[in-house]
């Protein structure tokens, strides 16, 4: 009886831990900075900084829930950013379409490499990111590729808010209620059984990588709008930020039935407040990286051991 209560407790804890973390960083930095983080312009800054990460993390939920990774997201953001910058000189809607199209294309290749040819997802996408970064170096030989001046007009919080809300609500509906999202989780929870239940694994994987690529394309477009130019290292490390955000947000590292879409939103918020707070407190870049790394490992180790404990009894049955 006692062990049961303990298990219930652990499950509850795992479920509310992301919310607790969010409150802790929010209140913590507000106190440490003497309320400066709560300032409206600062809040806006947090949103602006987190906006592209929200998009890609939202798409990554589908991949991570089926125990797949995409290590090329950062490079795709860079690539689509350069493409958007180049095409923006011709036409701005076309620039958006081009960024989106390139993202989709790279996603399709990733999906085929992993889903059809069966190459390990991590290795395939890592190789893809090397190729893309190499191409970027060739394109950006002078250092940066600037965007058309008119493109700055799109740098509006309202627009980003709208894109963000539509994108996240749409993705959430698909993840939670559509067969596709359910099938993603089923693949993560038990691939063999999923195959025997008539789930077309290759198809699901291709769709997910394509969606990831599309989200990265949109993110690339908005990234160059904010920075004004694309460089060879635009979007660097985005894939790790996604991973950190999702884990902080409560995503199980192996995906499966316990995966929740809210992990993306909560996780990105935590990470955004954390990054912003550390800057406000005057921390240098390197201590920032180290702090993030340590937090990531601690949270990962803790949630991993607790989830294992919870599942242990179940597996034995």
């Amino acid at each position: 009886m006692k062990s049961n209560n303990k298990k219930k407790g652990m499950e509850l804890f795992i479920n509310i831990f992301p919310f607790i973390s969010l409150i802790v960083v929010f209140v913590g930095f507000a106190l440490l900075s003497g309320g400066r983080t709560l300032d409206i312009t600062n809040c806006r800054k947090i949103f602006e900084q987190s906006f592209t990460l929200l998009l890609v993390a939202g798409a990554a939920v589908f991949l991570l829930s089926q125990n797949c990774l995409d290590m090329s997201v950062g490079a795709v953001i860079g690539m689509t950013g350069v493409v958007a910058a180049l095409v923006s000189k011709i036409n701005i809607p076309l620039a958006f379409a081009a960024a989106l199209g390139v993202g989709v294309l790279i996603g399709l290749i990733n999906g085929i490499l992993h889903g059809v040819l069966g190459i390990n997802a991590m290795i395939a996408t890592l190789a893809m990111s090397f190729i893309l970064r190499g191409l970027l170096l060739i394109v950006c030989k002078s250092g940066t590729v600037g965007i058309a001046v008119k493109m700055y007009d799109l740098d509006q919080v309202g627009l980003k808010m709208a894109v963000c809300v539509v994108f996240l609500v749409g993705a959430w509906l698909f993840f939670q209620f559509h067969s596709y999202g359910k099938q993603c989780r089923a693949v993560g929870a038990g691939e063999t059984a999923a195959v025997q239940s008539g789930i077309h694994i290759a198809f699901i994987k291709i769709i997910s990588y394509v969606f990831m690529g599309a989200a990265a394309g949109i993110a690339g477009f908005f990234t160059v709008i904010r920075t004004g130019a694309a460089m060879y290292n635009t979007g660097n490390m985005a894939e790790f930020d996604i991973l950190i955000a999702l884990i902080l947000g409560g995503m199980p590292i192996n995906g499966g039935a316990d995966s929740k879409f809210r992990s993306a939103v909560i996780g990105v918020l935590i990470l955004g407040i954390l990054n912003n707070g550390m800057v406000l407190l005057g921390l240098d870049t390197y201590p920032q990286l180290i702090t993030k790394g340590i937090i990531f490992i601690l949270v990962l180790a803790m949630t991993f051991t607790i989830r294992n404990k919870i599942n242990r009894d179940k597996k034995m049955a």
Binding site: S179, I199, A317
Partner: protein, 499 residues
């Protein structure tokens, strides 16, 4: 010595969350006794075994072994006390060698100078396998090369090798062919001969009476009774198990087989590494029985007919198309459903809810444009949970926490819910209690009457004879015998064809 009590269970209780799996259970087992344990699905048989073997802790009560309180908290500690458990599901690890599985946790014996001497370990493992009369398994092979039956043999060898005082066999026999059962029974007899005790869990009452000295009945986690020797009568045991009268015959009552005109599925001259020139036709409204020894290729044929494997030559087709079957996705589109024998890894997703498992292959039917409302999903899941009487606290519970038989019901619910016209059942009543078995047989009859086609692959001859319109017997990858349903068909007749 013969009459000393070996295992003394006093007032043991155990709950999992809301489920009380055992309520104040007490009984004793003597040395040299083979004790059967029976009860419906979810009555607590596996729970009590797992508690004795140190895998679960108990909430209350005392367990004594030879008068000494048993405090084993892990399987390894229990093993040191002379307790060996053969679990209901697969109890070996797939990606290590057979020998490593047999000596799992006891590798220390073979360590010299800091390294495991694998040659020595393989030699001992070979000895262990030969002790139970198995020579077809190589100790150095990876375990997942072997099928369910062979992996069970490895577990039996492992248990027997430790020379246990108490050997617990949890619903192993119904995963085995008659050859495998022979090996298991021999091992049990041997344990009895040297004065060891065996707890034998089964749903097959005839088997039970044949090999057990006595039997303990559990119902809903409560101890009901223990019967000895000639007091073990099938009908009385059934009543004690389910708490009501059971009808005598649960198989079909019609004497003659029948089937529709139309052929719904065709296998034509198929070759694979296991199958040699196999052809068959499955008709609508037919239950086609497929039997044989476990390595005769019948399980592989089942996989082939669901598009899981592809033949080297030959074709598997359904009515309406000439196209061969390429994948499970296509098979399901053509109205085929498949119940794998390998339940835990292939037929259900353990770490997912009962609801999601039941709905998974019917999502396209429940949803509109791919979207399903939770209300609709819940209704669908509840409907099938009720129809098959799955014992579960709520539909959100994970399948991993269900008892073996209830997991199997979830698998059936999945395909019946989908409404598949062609059903491939590989050992569908494996681990299912008599009450539910009866229900499933009735259901099969009903499905037949509605024009469904059923391929029944089974190790259990009474089931094949009792349910099939037509029986095919396979041997070494070929179909060697075909008979129609009829009163003249007996088990011995079929066995002669099989070996």
């Amino acid at each position: 010595m013969e009459h000393e009590v070996l295992l003394d269970i006093q007032h043991v209780s155990k709950s999992f969350g809301l489920t009380q799996a055992l309520k104040d259970v007490s009984f004793q087992v003597k040395q040299g006794e083979i004790r059967g344990i029976i009860g419906e699905n979810g009555s607590g048989k596996s729970t009590i075994s797992n508690i004795i073997a140190g895998i679960y802790g108990k909430d209350e009560g005392v367990i004594r072994l030879n008068g000494k309180e048993l405090r084993a908290a892990t399987a390894v500690e229990a093993e040191a006390e002379g307790i060996a458990l053969i679990v209901q599901e697969i109890g070996t690890i797939g990606d290590i060698s057979v020998a490593s599985n047999i000596f799992l946790g006891n590798e220390k014996r073979f360590v010299s100078k800091g390294f495991i001497n694998h040659r020595e370990m393989n030699r001992e493992a070979k000895k262990a396998l030969e002790m139970i009369g198995v020579s077809s398994i190589a100790p150095e092979d990876r375990t997942d090369r072997y099928n369910l039956e062979e992996r069970k043999m490895i577990e039996i060898a492992k248990a027997f090798y430790t020379h246990p005082r108490l050997m617990i066999v949890d619903e192993t026999a119904n995963a085995l062919s008659s050859h495998g059962r022979g090996i298991l029974y021999a091992a049990i007899e041997e344990v009895k001969k040297y004065g060891g005790t065996v707890l034998f869990i089964t749903h097959d009452l005839e088997e039970l009476i044949k090999i057990c000295d006595s039997v303990t009945i559990l119902r809903d986690g409560v101890y009901i009774d223990t019967c000895y020797g000639s007091d073990m009568r099938i009908n009385e045991l059934k009543v004690k198990m389910v708490g009501r009268e059971m009808s005598d015959h649960y198989y079909r009552s019609d004497v003659e087989g029948s089937m529709g005109e139309q052929v719904v599925m065709r296998v034509e001259n198929v070759f694979t590494s296991m199958l040699k020139n196999v052809s068959l036709e499955l008709h609508e409204g037919e239950i086609l029985g497929l039997g044989g020894l476990s390595d005769c290729g019948m399980h592989e044929l089942g996989r082939l007919m669901f598009g899981l494997d592809q033949p080297y030559a030959g074709k598997v087709t359904c009515t309406g198309t000439d196209q061969g079957l390429k994948s499970p996705v296509q098979a399901i589109k053509r109205g085929i459903g498949y119940v794998s024998k390998n339940r835990d890894t292939e037929a259900v997703i353990l770490q997912d809810s009962v609801k999601n498992n039941v709905c998974l292959c019917s999502l396209d039917k429940i949803s509109k444009l791919g979207f399903a409302s939770p209300v609709q999903e819940n209704r669908f899941a509840d409907q099938w949970i009720q129809k098959l009487k799955v014992k579960v606290n709520n539909r959100g519970e994970y399948v991993a926490s269900l008892s073996g038989g209830n997991k199997q019901k979830v698998v059936l619910a999945k395909w019946l819910g989908r409404g598949s016209r062609i059903l491939i059942f590989d050992c569908p009543t494996r681990g299912i209690d008599i009450g539910v078995k009866e229900a499933i047989y009735h259901l099969m009859e009903e499905l037949k009457e509605q024009g469904h086609a059923i391929l029944l692959i089974s190790e259990e001859l009474p089931e094949l004879i009792g349910m099939s319109d037509r029986i095919l017997i396979m041997k070494d990858g070929k179909i060697v015998c075909e008979t129609m349903r009829g009163p003249e068909i007996t088990e011995s007749l079929l066995i002669k064809e099989m070996i």
